[in-house]
Amino acid sequence: MKGHLSAPIAAVLLCVTVAMPCVIAAGVGATERPTLAGVSQGLTCQCGCGLTVANCNHPSCSFSVPVREQIESMIGKGQSGPQIIAFYRHQYGEKVLSAPTTEGFNILAWLMPFAALALGGAFIVYTTNRWRSAPAPDKGQPAPPAKKASPQFDAALRRRLEDEIRERT
């Protein structure tokens, strides 16, 4: 019985580490039918607000307002989401993207959360297996002798204990 679940759990954790970031990151920027909201969510506003073009709340923002209009026009001309994103990346560089790319150092961004999760999971499996293999506390041993009433357990201490019980409850 012992440990018979740890191998499948370890396999699942390995799959999570390897497969999840790939599946998830592969979807970045891929939209089946581009929408203004979808595409503009993939771009970061350059006005300094730190939000995406979709979310920038400055009514007369010099970046998000014209870019949103441009995106609408590009969608109207039949361009795909990744094409529009690539156009802005070419113009402004990587900083305009609202998610890390899946190239080079940026892969770490996608990999680390799942690697940490898998490591944590592996640690739990390792620790719980150790707990399971540890000898159970010996319940056959006689109970320790009861303590004798302490001579110091006088009325004053009793009063203090009563106070504490009243407070705690």
Binding site: I9, M20, I24, A25, G27, V28, G29, T35, A37, Q41, T44, C49, G50, L51, T52, N55, C56, N57, P59, S60, E72, E94, K95, V96, L97, S98, A99, P100, G104, F105, N106, A109, W110, M112, P113, A116, L117, G120, G121, I124, T128, W131, R132, A134, A136, P137, P144, A146, K147, K148, A149, F153, R158, L161, E162, E164, I165, E167, R168, T169
Partner: protein, 671 residues
């Protein structure tokens, strides 16, 4: 008056310093009179900070522009309510407000522990005083709220228009309360490590504080989301902004902590883990403050950027290093005989629930700091925004929801496959049915199908739990179903309050899924009297109503909303111009129903208002996000409600144990 404020802060700092010395001396030399004196010093510190708060509020309410802070964050035309909230609208005021809350919570913790926990309470007060000294030091020497201007201006600069909203009146205090109250369980955890009293007494002493902190973190996050929804004008409520993330991370870790302490209380396991979690939760609150105030990472919520980053970073490093050092120092004593029988047990469900919660917190942390890392390593500062967080956290959220369903129905120690099937047959059936119904309604997005199925599964497990409890009471006590339900919750408030919170989380989860995947967006320019369609609604632009006050100018578009040819409501989105700050802003109009929210933004005006451009969002189920939040709040109130019967039972047990001890009889469970 400003001199009084300055003096009060200085005296508060001295008192905090004195309390540390008195507490340490009293605890190590067994001199109770010094412990009493330290307690009085901390209460006096609270009184001093309260005086400072009153002085600053007085300055704000009386528009005393000789005070630099008042001149920077208020004006004579600012409505009185916002003069009060301007206290936390700027750097110094918000730090003072933080310190005030800390001093109040320290005083309450002092009072609660004046006769109990004598071995750890003095050290906990030392930790609380150390945190207070950091903030008081900042207020006295680095960022002073009572600095005076050489020449007082006639008029103030005014409060940032984005903060002139009622949600902003309650969002920061709620969040700060959540942040600051987490200091108390952290201080007791640290005190347990310092004193070597490593049983679960520190957890029992601070359980309500931890729930209180979680409660206000929940409220703070919800209010912040609502503020973003109503004020930022993009139709959403969560943008994975660094400051939002900073508020979300402690909530996640505190949620993990509240679950894992149940294992320690029940089985005396996970001591190191629980101490680590509470340390992490507190560290993340300081990290959040560091992000908000340092300007290291740009954020739409950073209204108080300054050069305080290095101070907060230093304090954060001090907290992390000293707390980790204590954990390592006590690691040998923290080992406990752990009993773990099966992965099909509640312990296992809680362990994996903790893994996913902390995993999500790590993903959020990683995404938040990755731009800084990228800049340091590659010299390129990239942005990590919603696409990253949604894609990474989406699957993890599904896992978490699944575990929420598994945990309550699975037994402690081990569950047999037969029991598993019996317990989960109905919830699994409800989950499958929900998925099939959604599929039949044309939903083809796998995430939504999975999310709805899991939500139905969890609701099924909670209903099974309630049904079992009610049924047991009906058979044992013979109560009517409604009475049995009320008594079930009243007599087991901690457990069933927790389930109510779970219902709230699921309801909010469904709201988030619905509003994220099925939003309709329309942008339309119309002339006065013209209509346009958004989903089942027709919106007709009736005209513009101007408003001019000394504080602002506002142009409100009057819109008639029709459905099937009949008027259902009128809406009034507006453009606002704040005169003092010379800053434009939008005021959105929202019509909320359980099915969908109609959200209208006045995006532009032409031809003297005869032509207007509107951005309209039709967002399904967003109503349920707020309803879920309300349920979470109600559930937490149930959990925290004093259980008189339980307390009486504990008191009787304690008294019985004392009587047996005095009579020299063996005490059950005694050593």
């Amino acid at each position: 008056m400003p001199e009084l404020g300055r003096l009060a802060l200085l005296v508060a700092l001295v008192l905090a310093l004195y309390s540390i010395g008195a507490n340490l001396f009293g605890a190590t030399r067994n001199r109770p009179e010094f412990l009493t004196s330290a307690r009085h010093a901390l209460w006096a510190m609270c009184a001093m900070v309260t005086i400072a708060i009153i002085v600053l509020w007085n300055g704000l309410l009386n528009s005393d522009f000789s005070l630099e802070y008042v001149a920077a964050y208020s004006s004579t035309t600012l409505p009185t309510a916002y003069k009060i909230t301007a206290l936390w609208g700027g750097q110094q005021g918000s730090l003072l407000f933080w310190t005030w809350l800390l001093s109040i919570f320290t005083s309450i913790a002092c009072f609660q522990n004046r006769r109990r926990n004598p071995e750890i309470a003095p050290y906990a007060m030392v930790v609380l005083a150390v945190v207070a000294i950091f903030f008081l030091g900042m207020l006295n020497f680095v960022t002073r709220p009572f600095d005076l201007l050489a020449v007082a201006p006639v008029e103030g600069t005014d409060l940032n228009p984005l903060l002139q909203n009622y949600w902003m009146a309650i969002h920061p205090p709620s969040l700060y309360t959540g942040y600051v109250s987490s200091t108390v369980p952290f201080a007791f955890g640290a005190a347990a490590l310092i004193s070597g009293r490593l049983d679960d007494s520190w957890i029992r002493s601070t359980r309500r504080w931890a729930i209180f902190s979680w409660f206000f973190l929940t409220l703070g996050n919800m209010f912040g989301a609502r503020w973003a929804y109503e004020v930022l004008g993009w139709g959403g409520y969560w943008a994975w902004d660094p400051v939002e993330n900073a508020a979300f991370m402690p909530w996640l870790v505190m949620t993990a902590y509240l679950h894992s302490v149940m294992i320690q209380e029940r089985k005396d396991m996970l001591k190191v883990w629980n101490l680590s979690l509470i340390g992490l939760a507190f560290g993340l609150t300081i990290f959040g403050t560091f992000i908000t105030r340092s300007g290291v990472i740009s954020s739409v919520h950073s209204f108080t950027q300054s050069g305080l980053g290095p101070y907060f970073l230093s304090f954060l490093i001090f907290v992390v290093v000293s707390y980790t050092g204590l954990l390592i120092f006590r690691s040998g004593e923290l080992r406990s005989p752990a009993e773990f029988e099966s992965y099909l047990s509640r312990e296992a469900a809680f362990l994996f629930n903790n893994l996913v919660l902390v995993g999500i917190a790590f993903a959020v942390f990683w995404g938040t700091i990755f731009p800084v890392l990228s800049e340091a390593v590659r010299g390129v500062k990239i942005t990590v925004g919603p696409p990253f967080f949604n894609r990474v956290n989406g699957p993890l959220a599904l896992g978490l929801v699944f575990l929420m369903g598994v945990g309550p129905l699975i037994a402690w120690r081990r569950t047999t496959p037969r029991n598993l099937i019996r317990s989960f047959a109905a919830p699994v059936s409800s989950g499958v049915a929900a998925g099939l119904i959604a599929f039949a309604y044309g939903i083809r997005v796998w995430y939504v199908l999975a999310a709805l199925s899991l939500a139905a599964f969890v609701m099924g497990t909670i209903l099974v739990e309630f049904r079992r409890g009610v049924s047991a009471r009906r058979h044992m006590v013979g109560e009517a179903p409604a009475v049995a339900l009320v008594n079930l919750v009243a007599k087991n408030n901690r457990r069933y309050g927790g389930y109510i919170i779970h219902v709230g989380v699921i309801v909010a989860f469904v709201g988030i899924v619905g509003s994220s995947f099925f939003r309709t967006e329309v942008k339309q320019t119309v002339r006065q009297g013209q209509s346009f369609a958004v989903g089942p609604y027709q919106l007709r632009y009736l005209g513009l109503s101007p408003l001019d006050t000394p504080h602002l100018e506002m142009a409100t578009a009057d819109i008639e909303v029709l459905r099937d040819g009949r008027e259902v409501t009128e809406m009034a989105p507006a453009k606002v111009f704040y005169k003092r700050q010379q800053q434009p802003a939008t005021k959105v109009a929202i019509r909320s129903t359980p099915f969908a929210d109609l959200y209208v933004v006045l995006a532009g005006l032409d031809d003297n208002g005869k032509q207007a451009t509107f951005e309209v969002f039709l967002t399904p189920l967003v109503f349920w996000l707020w309803a879920g939040g309300l349920l979470m709040v109600m559930g937490t109130v149930v959990v925290m409600w004093p259980n008189v019967r339980e307390r009486a039972a504990i008191a009787a047990t304690l008294r019985g144990a004392v009587d047996r001890e005095m009579a020299g009889e063996p005490v059950p469970g005694g050593d």
